[in-house]
Structure formats: structure tokens, C-alpha cells
């Protein structure tokens, strides 16, 4: 199955947006992952909602907004009320860990805002309010298999709704309060978004199309040069890299992402 990429967004420490990533890649530079994520305010939200958003929600919204802004500039006539799919392993553990700590107290006090922000679909809810968009909005978790399942679900949604779908995959490190092992400690936040079109519109695009196929065989993983390696969303890094190479010199590539323990999705750029 095939999905045309119509727009891309990207946010991570040392990466302001996808254009920034592209120029770094073309100049053979490496992002500085120790930088803080650039400050962002979701100005498309009413002030009351805006001040309630958390760092997690902002990361998801910023990355969604980047892809939608580019889409609106590139396709000014297109319907911009797109169905959305937010994919995140953990959601907002900064909030959920604080709530868990609070219920350990004698008289627990949870703030109403904290509570409604704790739902996994909080970014989706804010996004739809801010965009005045009544389309379907989903929020899923697929652990380490986010890329394959996210791309598959967004592609199938686009077929179902016969219009492009905005997908955002975002992950942040687990909150410090949550007991964890060392492997979970080193993580760096990462978020990317794509507007994918698997309807039959044959829309022209600045980006390649993705050909998705199922396979039970994948080449052994090569040693990674992914500076963000750790969280599931960051596994998209080589895909985003190959997209830049495809755009600049038409370089073909195939990348495998695990769908689950024994199966993979092969992605070919065309």
C-alpha cells in the first residue's frame, strides 16, 4: 500500500523543524542533542486552553502545527480539517507520576486541570479545539513498535476517510519519579509528524511517497548513527534522513520497522 507524504514536521533538542534538519543533513552537520527544545506556545489555542498545556502537549502540538502550516501554504485550496492520529508510548508521565505520588498522601489533592491533561488524547483534544476541527481524532500507544504501526494506521485511515491524515509520533523520557532501569534513563525527547495521503487524489508533493509492505524477514540492524536513539519516535530518524537524500539526489532506499516481535513493515521511498 502506498501513502504520499504531503508535509513533515520535526522537533527534538537541537532540531527546530524539518527544514532545519534538512539543511543540517545536506551540510553533513550533526544536531546538538544537548540543546533544549526551542520554546513554543500554541498561539492557535484560546488563552485559557493555551496556559493549561504542558511540555508534553506542547511538543505534540508544535510538531502537528509545523506539518499543517506547511500543508496550508503548499495547498491553499485544500480542506485543512484533517483527521488526526497521535502516537505516544507513555503520554504525559510528568503528570501521571505526580498524580500517583499524590494518591500516596493522606489526603490526596489532584487538580482538575492536571487530571484532564493526563488523558492520552489530551494533545488531540487541544488540537481539535484550537483548529475548530470536528474530524475523528485518535490517540494510540504501541510501545517500541510506534513507527510501523503509526504509518500503517495513518495510511489506512487516509484510505477510510478518503482524505489526507495528520499523524504525530512523539515521545519524552519517563518522569524522574518513576522507578526505572538505566536503559530508560538516557532517553531524549523526539517528535515528528507527517501528513499522509493514501486516497486516490494523486496530489503533487515536495516529498516522496511511502510504499508499505509486510515481511517476516528484515536485515540485521546495522550499527546506528542515530544521535536520538532511545525512544520509539526517534526510530524515525533514518527514515527522515533517507527522505532528505531522496529529495536531494533521488537516492532510493528501503527501511524496515518492526510491527511486532516477529513481523516487519518494509518501507520503500518512491
Amino acid at each position: 500500500m502506498k501513502a504520499q507524504i504531503l508535509s513533515i514536521g520535526l522537533t527534538a533538542p537541537g532540531l527546530v523543524n524539518f527544514e532545519n534538519f534538512k539543511s543540517m543533513m545536506l551540510q553533513n552537520q550533526s544536531p546538538d542533542t544537548s540543546e533544549a527544545i526551542e520554546k513554543y506556545s500554541p498561539t492557535f489555542l484560546p488563552p485559557n486552553e493555551r496556559r493549561r498545556t504542558t511540555a508534553t502537549i506542547k511538543l505534540a502540538l508544535k510538531t502537528a502545527e509545523e506539518a499543517l502550516s506547511h500543508f496550508q501554504q503548499r495547498y491553499p485550496q485544500a480542506d485543512n480539517k484533517l483527521p488526526v492520529l497521535f502516537v505516544s508510548k507513555d503520554g504525559d508521565t510528568l503528570i501521571s507520576a505526580r498524580m500517583c505520588q499524590e494518591v500516596g498522601e493522606e489526603e490526596p489533592m489532584i487538580s482538575p486541570t492536571q487530571f484532564h491533561n493526563s488523558v492520552h488524547n489530551a494533545p488531540a483534544g487541544y488540537w481539535m479545539i484550537g483548529q475548530k476541527n470536528q474530524s475523528p481524532a485518535s490517540a494510540i500507544s504501541v510501545g517500541q513498535y510506534a513507527i510501523a504501526n503509526g504509518l500503517l494506521e495513518a495510511t489506512l485511515q487516509s484510505q477510510t476517510y478518503a482524505k489526507p491524515v495528520l499523524m504525530v509520533i512523539y515521545d519524552l523520557p519517563l518522569d524522574d519519579l518513576i522507578p526505572k532501569d538505566d536503559s530508560q534513563n538516557a532517553a531524549i525527547p523526539f517528535a515528528f509528524s507527517m501528513i499522509l495521503d493514501a486516497s486516490d487524489s494523486n496530489q503533487e508533493s515536495d516529498y516522496p511517497a511511502l510504499n508499505l509492505s509486510f515481511t517476516q524477514q528484515a536485515p540485521a540492524p546495522t550499527s546506528s548513527n542515530n544521535p536520538y536513539s532511545g525512544l520509539p519516535a526517534a526510530e524515525a530518524y533514518p527514515l527522515l534522513q533517507s527522505m532528505v537524500l531522496f529529495e536531494s539526489n533521488g537516492e532510493d532506499s528501503e527501511i524496515h520497522f518492526p510491527l511486532n516481535r516477529n513481523n516487519f513493515i518494509k518501507i520503500a521511498l518512491t
Partner: protein, 409 residues
């Protein structure tokens, strides 16, 4: 999509028979004196508790997933002959051709709560297999040994209704031959204190659509359905029930309050009806989201009223008075109820009503929508249920409606 099997465990019990008996006789699963109440001394409310969940043993290979949510999932998979039905399809089609998609709002967060309450040692705790939002999907896939696409949807109280649209997509794309859909949500302190902070927890038994309704009772439940586009074997004597339409929408209104006129609810119901290729006049019964908060019931009834006409006799009721609000499991719980109502041909009472809210009945006065306060047994009348719809709405203004049909009436 055909329903090939289903299993449900709630505070009412653990198989079809006990649920049907409770629904027919108006027996609630809610109580204000349960073992769980000890953990919430500051909250006075009714709960829908599944008793003795903490005693459920997981097999050794899945022990690391142990938490209240996965224990309920395990119990639900064992009941109602569900495992063997899934196994039959695994043998027929292969593991990688069975998908699994489940809904939950809080996954196994109770395990993390136990750590902070010094009820669980940090070194016995594993975030990834308990609280992580897809723990339920990982656990169920491994318990059923299926290897098709699999994930967890977490859109608050619409989670396990939205799983039906995913199943439709997978089957239509022919990437699977069957899908296990479901949802599990279990009692946890963050949710109880969170809803309490919002002023949405009732100290009385919840009274959907009642003039004096003042909030929800929280319940827990686990439910699964096995779906396929291939009809069940002809030898089966059971009536054939299909999922005919799924509709989704967003309110785009407020993060925790529904649109007052039920705009999003209308869009979800309309989308489901459009897919089923029917109109409101064809719907015989709607299982309401009906949480018993003042705002939800007003919003939802407004939405229903906007869509109904004089020509559409429809029964509507909420079954939250039986189970409480099972949150991320509410969708699957009530969709399984809808399946069983079609099979058994009765309409469950809208429980715990003393006086229907006149503001709601006023909205319905131009339509022929009826709210049954007693169970209606239809087998001995000339009325019947053919199309029924279930509504589920969640925080973030996230809505889903699912339509079921009895094929062989």
C-alpha cells in the same frame, strides 16, 4: 463484520447468563460497601467492583505483566469460551493474520500507585509491563499468541468503541482475517480522585437522565469481541449479529465538558448511520453513553433529539446504573450488551430513575423516543430489535458510535 464471539466481566458477573439476568431483573452491580472503598476513605460513592481480581494468577510466562488491569484482561479472556474461539481462528489462518486492538484509559497505572503507597517494592515493579499505555495490548497479544498488527487506543471513555473502526480498516485492507477487539479499565486511585476533583463523582447511586442526577459512579470491566468478515459457521444455532457502522468525531469544544447541543455526538451517530446505510428511523434502540453527569446527559439527549423525528420510534437507555461508568471499557461493555440484547430481544431499563429530567423530556417531546424505566421483553410482542446503536464519548471531546444488526430476525 460478523461477531464470532464475545466475553465480558464486570461488577455484574463474568458470563453472558449472569449479565442478561441482571439486566432483565434490574439488579445493579454498584455498591457503596466494597473491599475497594477502604482505599478511598475521603470519597463517598458507589463503585462497580469486580471481586477478587487481585487473586487472579497469570501464567509464569506472563507474570511480569501482573497488575489489576491485566489480571482482569486474563480473566475475561478465559471466560465465555473466548480463548478456544480465538485458537480456532489462529489454527485456521495463522498467528500473523489475527489483529488485536484494545482500549484503555489508564492501563496498569495502579501498579505505580502501589509503589508510591509503599504497597509494592520498586524492584518488583516494571513500568513497561504495567502502566505503559500499550501494556494491555502487549499482554493480550502474548496471552492469545497472535501476531497481527496490534496496539492500544487511549481516548478516555471512547477508547474501546474506536477499536471497531480499526478492525474494519484491517479487514478491509486484507492484512488480517480476524481481529480481537476489546477494552479493559480497572479501578485506580488517580482516576477516582481526579473525577472527584472535577466534582463529577456522585455520592449516591448514579441516576442517568434523572432530574436529580449529580455525577458518575466508577466501575471496572473487561470485554473482548472476535470479529471477521466471514460469517460464522452455519451449524451454529446462534443468531448472526453484525457490526454495521462505526462513526467517529470530535467536539472541538472543551477539553472536559461536552458540547451542550451534542454536536460531536450527532456527527458520530450520523457517520455510523451513513456507513450502515440507514437512518434514525431504522434504529430500534440506542444504548446511551448516559454517564449521569448533568452535562453529558443533556448534551447527548440534545444530540439524539436533533436527529430524531416523529417517524422514528426508538428506545434509549443508559446501562451505567448497572455497571457504573467503566471508562475506557465502557464502549466494549455496552457494545457487548447490545449484541446480547439483540440475541435475547429485550430492552434494558434505564435504572435508578425517580423522576426523568423534564429538561430532557422537553427536548424529546417532538420525537417518539422512549426511555424505558422497566425492562421490556420483546419476544412475546410483535416488536423486535434489529438495529441498535451504542454511544461512547470521552474527554477531549472524543466521540464514537457503533451500530449492530441482527441478520436473521
Amino acid at each position: 463484520m460478523y461477531i464470532l464471539g464475545s466475553s465480558l466481566v464486570s461488577s455484574l458477573g463474568q458470563n453472558k447468563e449472569v449479565h442478561i439476568n441482571a439486566l432483565k431483573s434490574g439488579k445493579t452491580g454498584l455498591s457503596n460497601q466494597t473491599a475497594f472503598h477502604k482505599q478511598i476513605p475521603s470519597i463517598n460513592t458507589f463503585l462497580g467492583v469486580v471481586n477478587n481480581l487481585e487473586d487472579i494468577q497469570l501464567p509464569d510466562s506472563l507474570k511480569r505483566y501482573a497488575c489489576r488491569n491485566n489480571q482482569l484482561a486474563w480473566q475475561t479472556l478465559q471466560e465465555n469460551d473466548f480463548l478456544s474461539k480465538v485458537n480456532q481462528l489462529v489454527n485456521k489462518h495463522g498467528r500473523h493474520r489475527i489483529g488485536l486492538v484494545v482500549g484503555t484509559s489508564t492501563s496498569g497505572i495502579a501498579a505505580t500507585e502501589h509503589v508510591f503507597r509503599n504497597e509494592l517494592e520498586a524492584d518488583e515493579y516494571d513500568y513497561q509491563t504495567t502502566q505503559q499505555m500499550d501494556s494491555l495490548a502487549q499482554f493480550c497479544s502474548q496471552a492469545l499468541e497472535v501476531e497481527g498488527p496490534s496496539f492500544a487506543i487511549s481516548t478516555a471513555c471512547s477508547s474501546s468503541a474506536k477499536v471497531f473502526e480499526v478492525a474494519q480498516r484491517w479487514l478491509k485492507a486484507d492484512i488480517v482475517d480476524a481481529v480481537v477487539v476489546g477494552g479493559v479499565d480497572t479501578l485506580c486511585l488517580t482516576t477516582l480522585h481526579g473525577f472527584n476533583a472535577l466534582g463529577l463523582v456522585s455520592e449516591q447511586i448514579c441516576k442517568p437522565l434523572d432530574q436529580e442526577r449529580n455525577g458518575i459512579n466508577i466501575g471496572e470491566a473487561g470485554g473482548f469481541m472476535l470479529l471477521s468478515n466471514t460469517s460464522p459457521s452455519e451449524e451454529s444455532a446462534d443468531p448472526v449479529i453484525k457490526i454495521m457502522g462505526v462513526g467517529e468525531s470530535s467536539d472541538a469544544y472543551h477539553i472536559s465538558t461536552p458540547h451542550p447541543e451534542g454536536e460531536g455526538a450527532q456527527l458520530a451517530m450520523l457517520a455510523a448511520m451513513q456507513q450502515a446505510n440507514i437512518g434514525m428511523q431504522d434504529i430500534d434502540y440506542i444504548n446511551l453513553h448516559g454517564t449521569a453527569t448533568p452535562s453529558n446527559d443533556l448534551s447527548e439527549i440534545s444530540g439524539v433529539a436533533h436527529l430524531s423525528t416523529e417517524a422514528s420510534p426508538t428506545w434509549v437507555s443508559s446501562t451505567k446504573g448497572f455497571t457504573g461508568h467503566t471508562l475506557g471499557a465502557a464502549g466494549i461493555t455496552e457494545i457487548i450488551f447490545c449484541q446480547w440484547l439483540l440475541e435475547e430481544q429485550f430492552v434494558p431499563a434505564n435504572l435508578n430513575v425517580t423522576h426523568l429530567d423534564p429538561q430532557l423530556t422537553e427536548k424529546l417531546k417532538l420525537s417518539t423516543v422512549n426511555i424505558p424505566l422497566e425492562t421490556l421483553q420483546l419476544t412475546e410482542t410483535n416488536q423486535k430489535l434489529q438495529y441498535v446503536m451504542s454511544n461512547s464519548f470521552g474527554f477531549g471531546g472524543n466521540n464514537a458510535s457503533v451500530i449492530l444488526k441482527m441478520e436473521s430476525v
